[in-house]
């Protein structure tokens, strides 16, 4: 290995974190006009995207199972905490998704009319990005936890600064609930540490839980799983989500649904399942059961929602149910499905929240009954995009949402050895029913909002989709199509990594 790339690689991965962090810090000291501020935000998030793209380009896809761009420095020996970062096939897509969604959020902000407290908003968003990216890059249990926590405060402020009328309570509920989850997660991580004496995720995953007795694994899996499940969110730990989404501003909702929820599911793929295989085996039926209950429950809850954003929030509960079901099968196909579902949900729900925000922006409400109908007539482009996003979300083949759900169900059809097949067949059947209900609520919503004669409310003079909105949304639309039509683009990256940590069993 020549010294130049050896030096260049850590620079790349570290700069992914440094750029937004510096950007946020500088923002505290800068006094900029609104316009310059927006440019600044765009520039910083764009600059963050650059090393991420560079990392994706220089990533060796033939060795997708290996950790690449690795950097491993001691930080706090007193806690055994190392500054250990790296990407592999599991994390790379999520890192890219995060950087992209954040960038698109800034694109969206650049045209937003709201300018009050923009500086605070932007620094919160950048800090949020640091946390999200760090979570996906971290390869040290405690470092993972630290980044997992980093997102809480910025997200709290994103909701509390720009949110709706009930923002304070919603933000508080969000932060308290998820903090409870992460503290429980911490307990689980520390349990692993105290039993194995190491915090290195790679080493732990490599040893396949050999040093951990089965009982400890189960306890650790339950606590870690609970912690992650709050973030995911898994039924019945989801009630912070609808409130947070309903009150959060558009970009907040987009990042919350698009990335934050993924941190929970990513934890399963990165820590819980590889490090605690026996625990995973013991708890998987429960995980699967909660997952499918979440699918059906989320769908039913959506069916009776009045608020557009609230509905999309509950739909996330259902979709995350599919992701969890994928994990619960403990098969490569199931885990692949979960990882695919993660990305797909990030793109689709991100788009949905963008659109819901645009609707709320124009009509001043997201209440479906107040909106009336006929959006396709009044705002045809917005209506069409909404239709597209909903159809993608209900898992239509050919769009990204399909593969995650289909493969998760397929995984449930043939769960890993040692898991009760009849039970998982029931999960599969219930999940299948869930897909029908999912289609039902999306179509009913579309029918109520986009179809029919125009309602009493007239949209504000903003008009149909504007350029900045389009430029924030089109990349999402394209990616949804690309991943839908060419699932290999994602599965080829995740599959080797997933096979590696599941096969040595």
């Amino acid at each position: 290995m020549t010294p130049v790339p050896a030096l260049a690689v850590p620079v790349l991965i570290v700069s992914v974190l440094i750029v937004p962090a510096l950007g946020a810090a500088l923002l505290l000291g800068l006094r900029l006009q609104v316009r310059a501020l927006k440019m600044y935000g765009l520039a910083v998030s764009g600059l963050t995207l650059v090393p991420v793209v560079a990392m994706a380009v220089t990533f060796d896809y033939r060795r997708a199972a290996q950790i690449q761009h690795e950097v491993d420095l001691p930080w706090i020996p007193g806690l055994d905490l190392r500054f250990h970062l790296g990407v592999d096939g599991i994390s790379l897509p999520l890192v890219a998704l995060t950087a992209l969604l954040t960038f698109l959020c800034f694109v969206y902000l650049s045209g937003d009319r709201r300018t009050e407290r923009l500086r605070a908003m932007m620094s919160a968003l950048l800090l949020l990005e640091v946390g999200m990216l760090g979570t996906f890059l971290a390869l040290d249990l405690l470092l993972f936890f630290v980044f997992f926590e980093v997102v809480l405060i910025p997200m709290y402020f994103v909701i509390a600064i720009w949110g709706g009328p009930g923002r304070r309570a919603a933000a508080l509920k969000f932060i308290l609930y998820t903090l409870l989850g992460s503290v429980v997660l911490l307990l689980g991580l520390l349990l692993i540490w105290s039993q194995t004496g190491t915090l290195d995720i790679v080493a732990l995953a490599h040893s396949q839980g050999a040093a951990l007795p089965r009982a400890v694994q189960i306890v650790a899996f339950v606590t870690i799983g609970l912690g992650l499940a709050v973030k995911t969110p898994m039924w019945p730990l989801h009630t912070w989500l609808p409130d947070a989404h309903t009150e959060a501003p558009t970009v907040g909702s987009v990042l919350l649904a698009g990335v934050l929820l993924k941190m929970g599911t990513y934890g399963f793929a990165r820590i819980a399942i590889p490090v605690l295989p026996d625990g995973a085996h013991a708890v998987a039926p429960w995980l699967g059961a909660f997952a499918v209950v979440g699918i059906v429950y989320g769908a039913l809850a959506c069916l009776a929602q009045r608020d557009l954003k609230r509905m999309i929030a509950y739909s996330s509960v259902g979709h995350m149910g599919f992701v969890l079901l994928g994990f619960a099968t403990l098969t490569p196909v199931g885990v692949n499905a979960a990882l695919f579902g993660n990305i797909a949900h990030g793109l689709i729900t991100g788009l949905l929240f963008f659109l819901a925000g645009a609707v709320k922006d124009r009509y001043g409400t997201a209440d479906m009954a107040e909106l009336g109908g006929g959006m396709l007539g009044r705002l045809p482009y917005l209506g069409s995009l909404l239709t597209f996003a909903c159809i993608a979300s209900l898992g239509l083949p050919g769009l990204a949402g399909f593969w995650g759900e289909m493969l998760a169900l397929f995984g449930a059809f043939e769960p890993a050895e040692g898991l009760s097949r009849p039970l998982f067949l029931v999960f599969m059947a219930v999940g299948g029913l869930g897909t029908v209900l999912t289609a039902a609520y999306f179509l009913v919503m579309l029918s109520r909002v986009t179809h029919g004669p125009p309602g009493p409310l007239t949209p504000s003079a903003v008009g149909d989709v504007r350029t900045f909105e389009l430029s924030a949304w089109v990349p999402l639309v394209l990616l949804i199509l690309v991943f839908g039509l060419w699932p290999k683009a994602l599965l080829a990256i995740t599959d080797p990594a997933v096979q590696t940590f599941l096969e040595a069993r």
Partner: protein, 135 residues
Amino acid sequence: MHIVYPVVVSALLFSIGVYGVLARRNTILVLMSVELMLNAVNLNLIAFDVWLGDRLHGGQVLTLFVIVIAAAELGLGLAIVLAVFRNRRTVDLDSLRDLAEPGPDCDAAGPDRGVAGPAPAPGPRRGTGQEGAAT
């Protein structure tokens, strides 16, 4: 003399002191009760010192210190009582209740009304119920 006698006496003395501290309203009397408690300690220490035949006479040494401490405490206590009396015209402990948790009526407005953004609608469950959510 068996060691039990002085110890029991001292325990009784201490208990009387405690009772005085708890039951007396007058601050001066409370201070005197504290003196009783400390003297119970002294009695104990001396008794043990003798009984043990401590070569270093730790008990006696400590007793001396306790006496000094008691004196200092009492002096300071009286000074404080004086200050209280000057400010409040009373030395009644029960009436020194300016500093306390505000009553429930103050709280009805909610601790957060003062610090929140535009006050959340007070009525709905969503507004007020969640402050302590997820505990």
